[in-house]
Each structure stands twice: as structure tokens, then as C-alpha cells.
């Protein structure tokens, strides 16, 4: 058994950088803080690559699967003999994969931010928060037990709150960060209930014990039941609610579009590549329990994922803000990943969905981060987020143009770019399990290609907008990450995931099912063609189509009014009937009691203040009468 204790450094280095920059960053020159942050992440990245190499290739014996290893564990909180909370590092195919993803994307974002955030007064604050986020996310994926994961889950939420509200002087940014935190916190309530139910039923928090096919978790599936589903199923559904909140699945998706108020590198790191896949990671981590013990919960996962992806795809077709289109695209792609997990079985060929979900997670991180960073470069050049204010930028921003185009082709699923492989596997898995879900995902693939190319043409082709000042290409420090990520999104498809990351750790053979692959490529190409016809040159066709589907267009443009519904429920129901009475009670009963106590004390002190009047005869009088009374009591009455 190889020694993986050094992996403890991977999350701890960003933590140290966070503390260093947070406490002393204001004294440094901005560039120094940026370099410190990037160097810290760079070291973590190198360690992650070394771990991946060692785990997948170096210490691997051919023919056997990949076992999950506890690299490090320490008992943090020992409450009773049965209830102990450990902290540690778990090395496992998916955690190693996530290490590579997180550190790579975070490193790219760090380098990019040195250029993007230049001139901002809170430069060092940004980098310290980025390091905090990296620490939290790395801790989350390396968690050995579900409680540790919950701790880091909340830490990730806090980092996201801090980063979305980075421009804290803008009220919209503050509101967005509050919304994100509150919505995900609300979902985390479900997560906590699920954790408690699960650990109470099985007696353990530990992942290795929970996911053991012969362990107590699966065995308890036949146990107590409630309303037709076993307790295990209920607890897994609750846990999934927590995951759905973090991953912006319907109906917890409302925070993701507003989270675009944060700086673009933040959107790239958190809301495209890492934090939002935490929910997918959670289900993947507990996958054996889901697949073997609670197939009903898996159905819930699949349908939520499927519905979210088509919901988001329809909305994305009508949005005009670059970052919002990309946000809904993220939601849609994560729907893909959830669905893929939901239709998967356990072991061998059955576990294709599991493998495909993780594969898609990997490739999505690459191209989505690339898309966001590219959008950031565009926004940096023209100082606006709206498509309407852009056009014909391919002449001015060549590198951004090429990398953005590569990312758009990737997301459309055109071979040989990476997303073709991952998306194809998902479609195959869906086809073998549930034809309706397959149909939904098939349509979504077409819509994805359509709206991404609509965005692409709107930015880089289209009308010849007059700009106040000529947009210039971004500096090298911003374009190099773009190029690295483009390289990743092109070639990542060739990584043999089917032998590395599988549902039970054993490799299986996988080949391209041309029966599914060819139609999926065709619908992607169809989407591209329709977008080209409608958007490449400026013409009235989009408005005519919007006019024909007037109502659908209006509803999709307003995101199906879900924000308004939530606001209504919050304001009219929760505020009026729950919050206001409680606030009244707090102000008039509890505060009144405290004020009353203070008032009584004050009144009493005024009343007995008169004893110290300074008048000698009064003192003597009190003395004499007190003596008389005491004598009376002690001599005659006692």
C-alpha cells in the first residue's frame, strides 16, 4: 500500500495562502499577492498530478481495480464511542479526478485573474477568497466521511457568498450573494436531515463503510419503511436535495443566474467548473448506496436532472446577457450529469452512466471554464455584458475568438473534441435505461448547439457595432489560460475513463455505439446550421421566430417566472405569517422583558438612592431604629 499522506498538503497549501493573504495582503503590492496565490495553487496542482499519476499508473497492478485508500485520518471530535467525527483524506478514483480538475481550473483562474482584476482595489482580497474556496472544495472532495463533507460543503457556500458579493458596494451583487447563500443553505437543511437519517440508520458516517456493497448501508435497505419507501431511500432523497441546491437543479436553480454578479473569473471557477458539480460529486460518492439500496432515489435524481436540463436549455435560447446564457448552459449540462448518474446501474457495463457522468464532469470543467474566461475577456474588452452591445469582434480579439469557437464546437458535441465522447456515453446510457429521458436529452443536445452558436455569432459576427474605443486583445496573462484550457477541451476526450473511473473500481470495455453517436452528431450540426442561418448575418429572422412563439418567448425570457413565484412565497407568506410574528414577539416580549428588568433595577436604585443623603441625622435615625428592630427580633422573637 503506497503512502499518500502527502496529499494532506494539497488542501492545506491554499488554506495557508488564504490566511497569509487575508492577514497581510493589504501590505503587499497587488501583483505579489496574485503571484503568491497562483504559486500556492500551482504547487497543489503539481501534487495533484503526481497523485493522479501515482494512483492511476504508478502503483496500479494491472487487472485489478482501483481501491479507495484512506491517505490520512485523524479523530477530530470524539463524543461517544459510537459517535466520532474524523477528518481525513480519501484517495479514490473520483476524488483523484476531482483533484486534477479543481487544481487545474483554479490555477488557470488564478493566472487569468492577475490580468483581469488588475487595478481593482481589493486585489489581495480576491486572491485570498479564491484560495479559501480552493481549500474548501479540495477538502470536500477529499472527505473521508459524510460529516466532513458537510463541513466543507458549508465552507464552500461561505466562499461562494464572499466571492459573489465581491463588489460589495453594488446592491445587486450583495443581493445576489445573499440569495445564493440562503437558497443553498435551505437545501443544505435537507442535506443535514439526510445525513442524520442515514447515519442513524447505519451507525456510521464513514464513506468506505457506507459504500461497501456488503456493508450496513445496503443491508438496511430492507429495513423500516415509511410511506412505501424505505428509510434509506428517504435519507438518500434528502441528501440529494442538498446536492440539488448546490448544483442549481430545479427548483433550487434561482441563485445561479444572479450569481453572475460576481467577477467573471469567479463565475468560471465556482459556477461552472467546481462548486456546482459538488452535488454531482455527492451522488457519485454515495453511488453504491443509491444504486444497490435505493433505486427509487436514483429515479428522482434522473428526472430532476433531465427536467433541469431541458428547462435551462429553453431559457438559454432567449437570454441576452452573455453570462446568463452561460449560467443556464451550466445548469443544463449539470442536468446531463445528474441524469447520467440516475440511469446508471452498478458494476461493469451497467455502470456506464456513472463513468459517463464523471467523464462529462471532467470535460465540462474544461470547456465551461474556457467559455467563461473567454466571455470575461470579451467583457473586459467592450465593458458590457449584453450581446446587443457587441458584434464583429473576431477582427479585434483573434485569440479569444479561436478559443471560444473551439469551446462552442466542443459543447455542441462534434467529434473529435472531448464533449462528443462524454455526451455520447451519456446518451447511450440513457437509451438503454429510459427512452423518454433519452429523447429529452437528445433534444437538449440540439438546443445546446443552437444557443451556444447564437451566442458565438452574436459576439464575434453580426452587426458592425461602433465602439467608443477600439477593443483590444487581452494581455498574455489572460490568453495563456484560455489556450491551455482549449488544449484540454480538445484532447481530454481521449483519456480512457472507462478503465480509470468506474462504479465499482473495475475497468470495463467501452466502445462507441454508432447507432447513437451519429444521430447525436447530426442534431448538433442541425443546431449549428439553424443558428448560422439566423444569426450569422444580421437579419429579421430571429424577431419573426420570436413573434411566432410570442408567449413561449416571453415566458422563457423571464425564466418562467420562477423568481417571481419564490419572491411571492417569501414575501407574502413567509414574511407575513412567520417572520413578522416572530419579530414582533422578539421585540415586544423578549426585549420588553430585558428592558423591564433593567427598568426595575433603575427604578429601585433611584428609590433607594435616598439612603445616601449625606444628612447625618438620617443616618443616625436608621442606625437607632435598625438596632431596635434587630434587638426585637433576636431577643424576643427568635
Amino acid at each position: 500500500m503506497a503512502d499518500y499522506t502527502y496529499t494532506l498538503l494539497i488542501p492545506l497549501i491554499p488554506l495557508f495562502v488564504f490566511l497569509l493573504l487575508g492577514l497581510t495582503g493589504h501590505k503587499m503590492k497587488p501583483l505579489v499577492s496574485g503571484l503568491i496565490g497562483s504559486t500556492g495553487l500551482g504547487i497543489s496542482a503539481i501534487l495533484s498530478y503526481a497523485t493522479a499519476f501515482k494512483y492511476f499508473i504508478g502503483s496500479h497492478v494491472a487487472g485489478t481495480g482501483y481501491a479507495s485508500i484512506k491517505g490520512f485520518e485523524v479523530s477530530w471530535l470524539h463524543l461517544t464511542d459510537k459517535l466520532t467525527i474524523h477528518l481525513g483524506v480519501l484517495i479514490d478514483p473520483i476524488s483523484v479526478m476531482m483533484l486534477v480538475v479543481i487544481t487545474t481550473v483554479s490555477l488557470m483562474v488564478h493566472i487569468y485573474s492577475i490580468g483581469y482584476m488588475k487595478g481593482d482595489p481589493g486585489f489581495y482580497r480576491f486572491f485570498s477568497f479564491l484560495s479559501l474556496f480552493s481549500f474548501s472544495m479540495l477538502g470536500l472532495v477529499l472527505a473521508t466521511n459524510i460529516f466532513q463533507m458537510y463541513i466543507f460543503w458549508e465552507l464552500v457556500g461561505v466562499s461562494s457568498f464572499l466571492l459573489i458579493g465581491y463588489y460589495y458596494e453594488k446592491p445587486s451583487a450583495v443581493a445576489a450573494s445573499k440569495k445564493a447563500f440562503i437558497v443553498t443553505r435551505f437545501a443544505d437543511l435537507g442535506f443535514l436531515i439526510g445525513i442524520l437519517m442515514l447515519s442513524f440508520n447505519t451507525g456510521t458516517f464513514d464513506f468506505q463503510t457506507l459504500t461497501d456493497p456488503n456493508g450496513p448501508a445496503i443491508a438496511s435497505a430492507g429495513g423500516a419503511a415509511f410511506m412505501g419507501m424505505s428509510v434509506l431511500t428517504w435519507s438518500l432523497i434528502f441528501i440529494f436535495i442538498g446536492g440539488a441546491g448546490k448544483s442549481a437543479m430545479f427548483p433550487f436553480h434561482i441563485w445561479l443566474p444572479d450569481a453572475m454578479e460576481g467577477p467573471t473569473p469567479v463565475s468560471a471557477l465556482i459556477h461552472a467548473a467546481t462548486m456546482v458539480v459538488a452535488g454531482v460529486y455527492l451522488v457519485a460518492r454515495l453511488f453504491p448506496v443509491y444504486a444497490l439500496g435505493a433505486p427509487d432515489a436514483l429515479m428522482v435524481v434522473a428526472w430532476v436532472g433531465g427536467f433541469s436540463s431541458i428547462f435551462a436549455a429553453v431559457i438559454a435560447c432567449t437570454q441576452t446577457d452573455i453570462k446568463r446564457v452561460l449560467a443556464f448552459s451550466t445548469m443544463s449540462q449539470i442536468g446531463y450529469m445528474m441524469l447520467s448518474l440516475g440511469v446508471s446501474g452498478y458494476g461493469g457495463e451497467e455502470g456506464l452512466g456513472f463513468m459517463a457522468s464523471n467523464f462529462h464532469l471532467f470535460t465540462h470543467a474544461m470547456f465551461k471554464a474556457l467559455l467563461f474566461l473567454g466571455a470575461g475577456a470579451v467583457i473586459h474588452a467592450v465593458h458590457t455584458n449584453e450581446i446587443g452591445g457587441m458584434g464583429n469582434l473576431r477582427k479585434h480579439l483573434p485569440i479569444t475568438h479561436i478559443t471560444f469557437l473551439i469551446a462552442c464546437i466542443t459543447i455542441a458535441g462534434i467529434p473529435p473534441f472531448s464533449a462528443f465522447f462524454s455526451k455520447d456515453e451519456i446518451l447511450v446510457a440513457a437509451f438503454h435505461n429510459n427512452k423518454l429521458l433519452f429523447a429529452i436529452e437528445y433534444i437538449v443536445a440540439g438546443l445546446t448547439a443552437f444557443y451556444m452558436f447564437r451566442l458565438y455569432y452574436g459576439i464575434f459576427w453580426g452587426k458592425n457595432t461602433k465602439y467608443d474605443h477600439t477593443p483590444h486583445e487581452s494581455p498574455l496573462v489572460m490568453t495563456i489560460p484560455l489556450m491551455i484550457l482549449a488544449f484540454g477541451s480538445v484532447f481530454a476526450g481521449f483519456i480512457p475513463f472507462h478503465s480509470l473511473v468506474t462504479s465499482d473500481g473495475l475497468p470495463f470495455e467501452s466502445k462507441i455505439d454508432w447507432l447513437i453517436a451519429i444521430p447525436s452528431v447530426l442534431i448538433g450540426v442541425l443546431g449549428i446550421v439553424v443558428a448560422t442561418v439566423m444569426y450569422k448575418k444580421e437579419n429579421p429572422l430571429p424577431d419573426k421566430v420570436a413573434g411566432t412563439f410570442k408567449h413561449l418567448y416571453k415566458w422563457a425570457y423571464h425564466k418562467f417566472y420562477w423568481d417571481e413565484i419564490y419572491l411571492f412565497v417569501t414575501r407574502k407568506i413567509i414574511y407575513r405569517y412567520i417572520s413578522e410574528p416572530i419579530a414582533w414577539f422578539d421585540r415586544h416580549v423578549i426585549d420588553a422583558t430585558m428592558n423591564g428588568v433593567a427598568g426595575i433595577v433603575q427604578y429601585t436604585s433611584y428609590a433607594i438612592k435616598g439612603f445616601q443623603s449625606g444628612r447625618l441625622q438620617q443616618y443616625a435615625f436608621v442606625f437607632v431604629s435598625g438596632t431596635v428592630v434587630l434587638v426585637l427580633i433576636f431577643v424576643y422573637l427568635v
Partner: protein, 171 residues
């Protein structure tokens, strides 16, 4: 017989003059009434055959302290000034407290049966008193004597310092 009459007379003088001391409005007269009280007390001591104590009482109390009080009255008020009577509430309350206390004390004292030592009347002469005052044997009172002398010294110095006129600071 004579003793009883004398006793009642002296007791009545004591009580009447002490009441007058605390209630009269004229301050100088209050001092004189106090003088009479002290002289009557000395008479009481003479009755008990304690000549030395009576003499000390007359000398120190009646002769020294009352003179001091009269001097201070003359220094701090003019002759026709009338003392202010305390407000009614204060008088009533203090009268009540006093009455309560007096009743309590009298009840306690009168219930207790003191066993008088019916022995022979001792003849105390000055030699005995003087010897025991300066002797440091078991029955000697040399220590209290010394302590009192220190107290007197301290109070003398204290009184002089307190009553000194403040020296004006020369500009």
C-alpha cells in the same frame, strides 16, 4: 427615708433638665441645663459614696466640657439667635424610635433580677484608687492609664491642627 427623698429629687432634676436640654430653643440655656444635669449626676455619685468619681465628674465634665461648649456657642452664633426646630416628620419619627427603644430596653432590664451583693459598705480611699491606677499587677490599671494619656495627647494635637486658621498664601 432621707436617702429616698434625695434620690427622687436628684433623679427628677436629671430627667427634667435633660429633657429641657434637648427641647429648648435657646442654645445658651441648653448649655446651662446640661451643666445642671452634670451637677446632679455628681450629686448621684456623692450619694453612692464615690467621692473621687464625683469630684472628677465635676471637674472635668461640668468644669471643662461645659465651659468649652459655651465658648464654642459664643463663637458660632449670636446671643439672640434661636435654634431651628426640626420638621414635624423628623420629630415624630425620632420620638417613635426613641420610645420604642426605651420601652424595649426598660422591659429587658426590669425583667432581669439582679442579685445585689449585700456586703459591707467598702470604704474606698484615695490611696487604694491611686495604687491600683499605677500598678501593673493583676488588678492594676497602668495600661489603660497610659492609653488614655496617649489618646489625650493625640486629641489635643488634633484639635489644635484642625482648628488652626488657614494661612493665606502670599502672592
Amino acid at each position: 427615708m432621707v436617702n429616698e427623698v434625695m434620690f427622687y429629687l436628684i433623679g427628677a432634676m436629671i430627667l427634667i433638665f435633660s429633657v429641657l436640654t434637648v427641647t429648648t430653643r435657646r442654645i445658651l440655656r441648653a448649655a446651662v441645663y446640661l451643666l445642671f444635669v452634670l451637677i446632679s449626676t455628681a450629686g448621684l455619685y456623692f450619694m453612692l459614696n464615690y467621692n473621687f468619681l464625683a469630684a472628677v465628674q465635676l471637674t472635668v465634665y461640668a468644669g471643662g466640657i461645659v465651659v468649652l461648649i459655651i465658648f464654642s456657642i459664643l463663637l458660632t452664633s449670636h446671643l439672640s439667635e434661636r435654634a431651628v426646630i426640626a420638621p414635624l416628620k423628623q420629630s415624630i419619627l425620632s420620638a417613635l424610635a426613641t420610645l420604642a427603644g426605651a420601652t424595649l430596653t426598660l422591659m429587658t432590664i426590669l425583667r432581669f433580677a439582679f442579685v445585689p451583693n449585700t456586703g459591707v459598705d467598702p470604704q474606698l480611699n484615695m490611696t487604694d484608687i491611686g495604687n491600683s491606677m499605677v500598678s501593673y499587677n493583676r488588678d492594676g490599671y497602668a495600661l489603660p492609664f497610659e492609653v488614655i494619656s496617649i489618646l489625650l495627647l493625640a486629641s489635643m494635637i488634633g484639635a489644635i491642627v484642625v482648628a488652626k486658621k488657614e494661612r493665606k498664601i502670599k502672592e
